[in-house]
Symmetry: C2
Subunit: 322 residues, 2 copies
């Protein structure tokens, strides 16, 4: 299992390549909650999400031989962009396996902006895994898993570590939980910094595998989860589950309506473009299920990649009408 020292070393390894992201606060929110909340804005990280931290940490440590053969991953989301950019910076070939029904704009961005090769597959877990496996076997590429990977977890933990270097005395840290990489890394960073720091996660009620896993003591899975928080539909793996069992106080579930309401607060009041997954921890704080009165709370805002087509089509229709 990875340690606090792994996260400190990861931070030294990546700190000249990552954005040192800002920490934001809201007077209005602090007044409403009776607490002090510090948002670590990973929507301002490169590729618009914390995922770049882990991807760069993992890929930069491959052997010379591995680097020559390249990396492969399956994702249509932030991890794909993160692997593609990290590989491009390190001059390593990258292959991203994406479902054939992925939006063209995402496929193009991955190919053109970062020069990664995109291989399409069927939109099933099985097809993704088989396609990755085939590429690994035929071409010798190294798989960079989005969360079932110690270096990815250590990299993800550097966001909380960087936050703690700036705000030393947090009583609580909260993140969203999907596959559990961010939550695992954050919990190790926070416990290493201060053993008494409490760790929580917010999770969509509609994809509550981590909540059920923690309660039952056994990994549970989601079956076709439907949630607007598209980054949080994945299941825990044994690696992340073990860390979460050791470190996490509780997981708080939130409805889709609560997610959108928290997201609206972050956009409207705090002027932060964040994706729905990022709003889940704030939604969890607002439920009242965590004792936060007079506490100092760190929130990891995981990313800001959200589809703005509808909004800007609406704005463009505004000028067309005039």
């Amino acid at each position: 299992m990875i340690t606090y020292q792994d996260i400190q070393q990861a931070y030294q390894r990546i700190k000249s390549e990552i954005n040192h992201t800002p920490v934001m606060t809201s007077r209005m929110l602090n007044k409403d909650l009776g607490a002090e909340v510090y948002f670590k804005c990973e929507n301002y990280q490169r590729v618009g999400a914390f995922k770049f931290r882990g991807a760069f940490n993992a890929i930069s440590q491959l052997s010379h031989e591995q680097k020559k053969l390249g990396v492969v991953t399956h994702s249509s989301g932030n991890h794909a962009q993160a692997v593609a950019l990290a590989a491009s910076i390190l001059h390593i070939p990258a292959t991203i396996v994406m479902p054939e029904n992925s939006p063209k704009v995402k496929i193009n961005a991955t190919q053109n902006t970062y020069g990664a090769r995109v291989v399409l597959c069927k939109n099933t877990v099985q097809s993704r895994q088989e396609t990755c496996q085939r590429i690994m076997e035929n071409e010798g590429q190294t798989l960079i898993h989005p969360y079932d990977n110690d270096e990815i977890i250590a990299g993800a933990g550097t966001a909380a570590y960087e936050l703690l270097l700036e705000v030393n005395d947090l009583d609580i840290i909260i993140t969203p939980v999907g596959g559990g990489g961010l939550l695992s890394g954050t919990s190790i960073a926070a416990k290493g910094f201060n053993q008494n720091c409490e760790i929580y996660a917010g999770e969509p009620l509609n994809a509550d595998d981590a909540y059920r896993s923690l309660i039952s003591g056994k990994i549970q899975t989601n079956k076709n989860p439907i949630t607007i928080a598209d980054g949080l539909r994945t299941n825990l793996c044994p690696r992340t589950f073990q860390i979460i069992q050791n470190n996490v106080n509780a997981i708080v579930r939130v409805s889709e309506k609560e997610i959108i309401s928290a997201m609206r607060f972050l956009w409207e009041r705090m002027k932060l473009v964040v994706e729905p997954s990022s709003a889940v921890p704030l939604a969890a704080l607002k439920t009242g299920e965590i004792e936060i009165k007079d506490k100092k709370i760190g929130v990891i805002l995981s990313g800001g990649n959200v589809d703005l087509n509808a909004f800007f089509e609406y704005l463009s229709s505004y000028i067309a009408e005039k």
Copy 2:
């Protein structure tokens, strides 16, 4: 006419009450433009706009007698919120004259969030002015004009001053221009800091009074301007025109389409919720009309108050469908 020292003094006066707003950059934009662009993010200022700087600077300097009688202004936009908040912090009564067709949400925010009195008037310039005049005569309140006021201009200039304290060697500063308060204050701050700094403004083609005023040497006005940049529909006044004539190199006009395209870049790539007016200077830089190659450029992002109803109704319909 106000001086660089006035801006420095204004900054000392207000700095403990304002947000020290962050400066953001974009690798992608800098690569595209072949320049270094520094965005001063006044969307993160209190009330979500630079207007709070001027309002607090002006109201805090009123005499004891004036403070007792209170302040009045006419605005349905950021200046209204700024005056209401500044007055509330200073425990001074504030009256905001708003057109009777203002959105209820804006009227409520002004009354409830900041405890200002709202007086409705007809939606004409004449009715606004007459209503203000009547309140001033009957109640002895002091008018806080949104830009035809030296203390407002000095306060507005502190945004550029604060930016220059952080990024000392800017070759160019660019702002939007509406009534000219922000542009005037910015130009005095920048010229005071470095006489060689070039000053530009972006202006909507559909409300190009400042452009025409500068070209013709006489104040020109807009007749029913229709632009999505709702903060920039106002006309210059002699006070701001004189400063702009002295200090500004050129005003660059941009189409509605160019404004929306620049706004989309700021949202999608830089994750900044900004209002359309804030995107006008970036749109101007992108026209190629200003020589920016290899230059260091400061951009004042004026504010982030934008109506997000349509966007969040769309998101809510997404969950309703599932």
